[in-house]
Symmetry: C2
Subunit: 81 residues, 2 copies
DNA sequence: CATGCTTACGGATCACGTAACCATG
DNA sequence: CATGGTTACGTGATCCGTAAGCATG
């Protein structure tokens, strides 16, 4: 697992697509896809249901999102000192 | 920055040496050294005073430690679901 | 069929362990 | 001088962008 993985996942959920998330993270679509696959592998469970548009988080995805959000904001605070 | 960087730093502070931290992380001494250098580069400030034994965190190191601790425990919680 | 997610590929970067080196007590 | 931290080097893994393929509405 990785901070960028978490950031990518949160960004996809927030924006509803990998395209928008990619733009925000200054990455390409494919890079975002892979970061999320990486996170799913690390956690051993799917986090997104890709068969809908916009993409929807699974139940595990929702829980992960709630965990990741404060973690990322703490890390951002840390970076700013 | 990276979760392993934070984990390495916290582990060194907790154990007072890179040797013990390395064992706990299943890494070598040199890998731990580099993870901490990496974190110091990312934050732009030294985190450890290596001229003493056991190694002592700097003031910035103490703050970083306090930030990192809850972040890592959140991530561990996340891993266990 | 337009938009968006995924996979294959090649190239660049990063991270590791080993081993040699430096520093502290 | 024993223990612990750092640097050099070579190798393997990781990550990215491009481009082509697949799926949804």
């Amino acid at each position: 697992m990785n901070l960028i993985d978490l950031e990518a996942f949160v960004s996809v959920v927030d924006h509803g697509s990998t395209v928008a998330a990619a733009a925000r993270l200054h990455l390409t679509q494919s890079a975002v896809t892979r970061r999320i696959q990486n996170l799913e592998d690390a956690l051993g469970t799917p986090l997104l249901d890709r068969r809908t548009r916009p993409v929807q988080p699974t139940r595990a995805g929702q829980e992960t999102y709630e965990f990741a959000k404060p973690v990322l904001s703490s890390v951002n605070d840390l970076r700013q000192e």
